[in-house]
Symmetry: C2
């Protein structure tokens, strides 16, 4: 009889956003007239920009004609898109990459989950706390997490606490891990590392042979000059880091599905006989075996993001969200809340008042303000006593939500 | 230091279609004028049908408007598509399914690869031989295959030989496996099982607690009445089988990327403590953690396949390919080749003349006829002495290729 991967039984059934949805539905059931505004889930609301729409229509028409129809594309993605990515996202920052070092996919979540296929279950993994749940859950499924303790932490995962006390800059771990996930600009805290702060991690990884999985899905929101957009802006990172990027937040592709992963050919890991092997080759093999490429029309849409007009249009949307972030920060900090992030990121991380716990504050904001936020503890034990708000809503809702929350202070 | 999943080092570097591409490129380099026709890779050539194109344009326009824009969709897929699938692909054949038993994805290859996440590495896996390489390679990566023997077979995989001797109907294995992959209509042989032949497997699975992973990506090509389109047409299959489907061949979506997987809630596997657990729950958790849903516009395109007009249009394309298949079968069997399949499938499987090996015949056909076919041995040891031809090309090329090959007999 087929035996399941028993690691699946270890993952708690309740998932953060389902629990939120459940509580909201329950509240709505008894308050049918409530006009609820969500600052909760990190999903965009601005429509796709005109350049992207035009590229989609054009690509769809190509698919209608035998002469221009495209069937299976390369599993790694089309060169036309990879070349644009390298030119605009990397060469422009002094980083060189070969076209076979960039892999197009249906999104960063898939790649961040699937990258685990490449590694042995014995690797020691480190994550920041709070953290995007996918890093942890995908490692639990792969058997790398150990068992869940009463403190909400997995026995085999190294946690790097991030809080207002350390200004959300994690300290190097005492126990050297094999793999570290870093996400900057950070989800959920909206905070960043400066170049010199990120350099500490790259140097540490080089010294100890640690692999960094760097998630820079929010780089398009960076406004300050000293914040690196790519980990490869740090010397030596191409030997130790894989970078994950997405068009989801950059260009509103959450419903269109496109991301990419950079695996420099110089990044290696060890085999059981002690030799080193390039992860580029392994990721290529994984993708060729278990993935069949990203939709052609979606890759054309992503390409349009890099045209002069496309760049202007997506910048307008990003500015729109960053203005929302400023409205939240200004309004709620004036009301007395302690806030972090929101300057180089679409997320604002806030201390709950009087140290009440995240879920209690969630319920209070839901019932008294009819606003949905995300309880910080959902991102890890260190998130207790914090909440996350997102700037992805529309302007009127954002202004109204801030007014309502400010009132209760 | 990060340690790789050492199973990756076991997979031979040469992949069937890269080796073919390599030999073709080499031939072209010294024969620049050769007009080469491919009956090789199984990719469609007909453009998307008008109903699908129209649905795509309409969905793209929705994404341009704030009021109709869609961000993240359900990881499991939109209900509008799932309901159409259940009604047209299942209810119409007397099969009932709940909407949470169907999962939309970016294609059957992803699902067939990723389903392995759910199972322990200790499971004994059976495959037919010859076989679609993804089943085997994804199990090698997961550590379920053992080591590759000199006979081209993995030590821990149970092979079910299919050849002209048993009319491509595999015999039940002597050693009971935990998981069996079945693909009907079959890739690569183009052959099928009748209802009573498939019933033997369902009964066997029920009796021995075996899980069947049933790939019916080619069901739309079935023309004969006694050939089941879905494994759930067989009584009791909903307790033992997961079914994988794709719009790739049905509606020409190879470049658009959409498939679906049916996991009935009654299909279970055992946990380490001997209890049973529903695979539906596990697959849902896997997809929610490591996948973020299929593009909205692509799901609207798939929905259009089920409209009255859409059905007519995709049938025209399928008839076109089946006519190609008939041209290949008639032309080459008249020339003296022994052929199988091509009646309920877009693939024709053929014996090489005089028992020469697959690659020698491949080279002969390439150099003497300038036609690319796929060597049968690339699908497994039992494929030695066979070749696969596909009916997915355009009509003129198909007719010309048959003429050229017939000449050398």
């Amino acid at each position: 009889m087929a035996c399941i991967n028993n690691n699946f039984t270890k993952i708690p059934e309740n998932y953060l956003f389902s629990e939120i949805a459940h509580r909201v539905a329950e509240y709505k059931a008894s308050h049918a007239d409530a006009s609820i505004i969500s600052l909760g889930i990190g999903d965009v609301t601005r429509p796709l920009c005109p350049s992207v729409i035009q590229a989609l229509h054009q690509a769809v028409d190509e698919m209608a004609d035998e002469k221009t129809f495209r069937g299976y594309g390369p599993e790694q993605g089309y060169k036309f898109l990879i070349e644009k990515i390298i030119k605009h996202d990397y060469n422009s920052r002094g980083i060189s990459l070969d076209t076979d070092e960039v892999f197009i996919s249906d999104g960063a979540k898939s790649d961040l989950g699937n990258i685990g296929d490449l590694f042995d279950f014995s690797n020691l993994v480190a994550v920041t706390d709070p953290v995007y749940p996918v890093y942890v859950d995908s490692n639990v499924m792969a058997g790398r997490a150990g068992i869940m303790g009463k403190n909400g932490r997995w026995s085999n995962i190294v946690y790097l606490p991030c809080s207002s006390e350390n200004k959300f800059v994690p300290a190097l771990p005492k126990l050297v891990p094999d793999i570290i996930y870093l996400c900057y600009p950070n989800n959920p805290t909206g905070t960043t590392l400066t170049k010199s702060e990120l350099k500490v991690w790259v140097d540490y990884a080089r010294e100890h042979g640690v692999l960094i999985l760097f998630d820079s899905a929010y780089e398009a929101f960076i406004t300050e000059p000293d914040v690196p957009h790519s980990i490869y802006e740090i010397d030596g990172a191409k030997d130790v880091a894989i970078e994950f990027r997405s068009f989801s937040k950059t260009a509103g592709f959450t419903g269109l599905r496109c991301g990419y992963t950079v695996v420099p050919k110089t990044v290696t890991a060890s085999t059981s006989d002690g030799s080193h092997i390039a992860l580029n080759r392994l990721w290529n093999r994984r993708q060729c075996t278990k993935f069949n490429g990203t939709a052609y029309i979606v890759q054309r849409a992503a390409e349009a993001v890099y045209s002069e007009q496309g760049k202007k249009e997506i910048k307008q949307n990003i500015d729109y969200y960053l203005t929302n972030a400023k409205i939240i920060r200004d309004g709620l900090s004036y009301a007395g809340m302690k806030l972090y992030g929101g300057v180089n990121a679409p997320y604002i991380w806030a201390k709950t008042p009087n140290n009440i716990d995240s879920w209690t504050f969630f319920d209070q904001i839901l019932t008294e303000c009819n606003v949905v936020i995300t309880p910080g503890v959902g991102f890890g034990p260190q998130g207790e006593g914090y909440i996350r708000m997102t700037a992805f809503g529309n302007r009127d809702n954002c202004v109204e939500a801030v007014k309502r929350i400010a009132k209760i202070f």
